[in-house]
Amino acid sequence: MKNFIRKFYYGDIPEEKSGGGSYQTVNDTTNWPLWEVFIRSKQGLDHKHAGSLHAADAQMAIENARDVYTRRMEGVSIWVVESKYITASNPDEAGELYEPAIDKVYRHPTFYDLPDEVNHM
């Protein structure tokens, strides 16, 4: 996770007046950790992964998420979790994990007739 923040200046304000810190040589001790953001778009629906962002702690992550991901009324609830706590499956193991299900169509509920009134299935 080194040097993943690069700043690009497109204004004409000289660097010494910008007030911003210089992040050219960010190292792991000064970097804010990465957080994954989950937004619930309305009551009754699940939280969905919206993206990720940097924050110093959980409280700041919630506020950053509010500013980055809910500016256009996208959400009513926010979850954040530090990215390092997410355990992901290994893409190299995709074969053994998922392919055995391909020829087992009987596991799909496609053999039932659903009334039209039932949505979200």
């Binding site: 923040i5 497109y10 204004g11 007030g19 506020e63 500013d67």
Partner: protein, 243 residues
């Protein structure tokens, strides 16, 4: 009454416009992407508030006055914004301290404004106070984070307080036209809230500081001229230019 109401509405409009303009200077220069978005978001909130106030002032003035003519074609001495909001951004600490000191005041002001006898101002205050509540929350957390942070961030906050505190007294000194809300009555509650946040941030509340004033009456620090030069450049250079 009407000219007082116009002046007061312009005072509210100018203060929010100038703080918005100041904060917008961070756009593309924030310390980290997420905070860049946060401060420009606040800047846009304030711009929206100022537009409401300018539109109302323009309707009171009548004639050719529009929100644009009021924002872009008035001179420095006609601006009635608080001195606090025109002060330079400085570093991130100074910017968020300026935001906190003002937002904490604005929140109390908008609470009172909702009880005034002008329907338009009541509606605008009611609409804006949720934004302001968030500004208070966001900026106060930053004050605590930096004040109670590292030695470096603490000393920068001390410097920011030293720089800005002298402009806080003006908020509570009523101008001649400022009869709609009795601002001097907000002082104790403001000071109490600021003292609580500063205590959490391990920052001292200054005592016996000489308070600068005059912004409400058009007497500004040198900063405002530079802000207006940039803000008004397009309309001065190309009068009537439109998007």
């Amino acid at each position: 009454m009407s000219s007082r109401l116009i002046d007061y509405t312009l005072h509210l409009a100018d203060t929010t416009l100038i703080l918005s303009q100041r904060n917008s200077e961070w756009c593309g220069h924030g310390p980290i992407l997420e905070q860049d978005i946060a401060i420009t978001n606040i800047s846009l909130d304030l711009l929206g508030q100022s537009r409401n106030f300018y539109q109302y002032a323009a309707s009171l003035i009548g004639g050719d006055a529009t929100e644009d003519s009021l924002a872009y074609l008035r001179k420095e001495r006609e601006f009635k914004n608080l001195l606090l909001v025109e002060q330079a951004n400085g570093d991130w600490g100074q910017t968020i301290l300026r935001q906190y000191l003002y937002s904490q005041f604005q929140y109390l002001l908008f609470e009172k404004l909702q009880q005034c006898n002008d329907e338009q101002l009541i509606a605008m205050a009611a609409k804006s106070i949720k934004e302001t509540a968030y500004h208070v929350r966001w900026s106060s957390e930053w004050v605590i984070r930096l004040g109670d942070g590292t030695e470096e961030s603490h000393s920068r906050m001390l410097k920011a307080i030293d720089e800005l505190w002298r402009y806080t007294g003006e908020m509570f000194m009523p101008a001649g036209y400022e009869t709609i809300v009795e601002v001097s009555s907000l002082k104790n509650e403001w000071l109490q809230k600021v003292t609580n946040i500063f205590a959490e941030a391990t920052l001292p509340v200054p005592e016996k500081v000489f308070m600068q004033a005059g912004g409400k009456e058009g007497k500004h620090t040198e900063q405002l001229g530079f802000i207006l030069t940039e803000l008004q450049y397009m309309q001065r250079a190309y009068p009537g230019a439109q998007w």
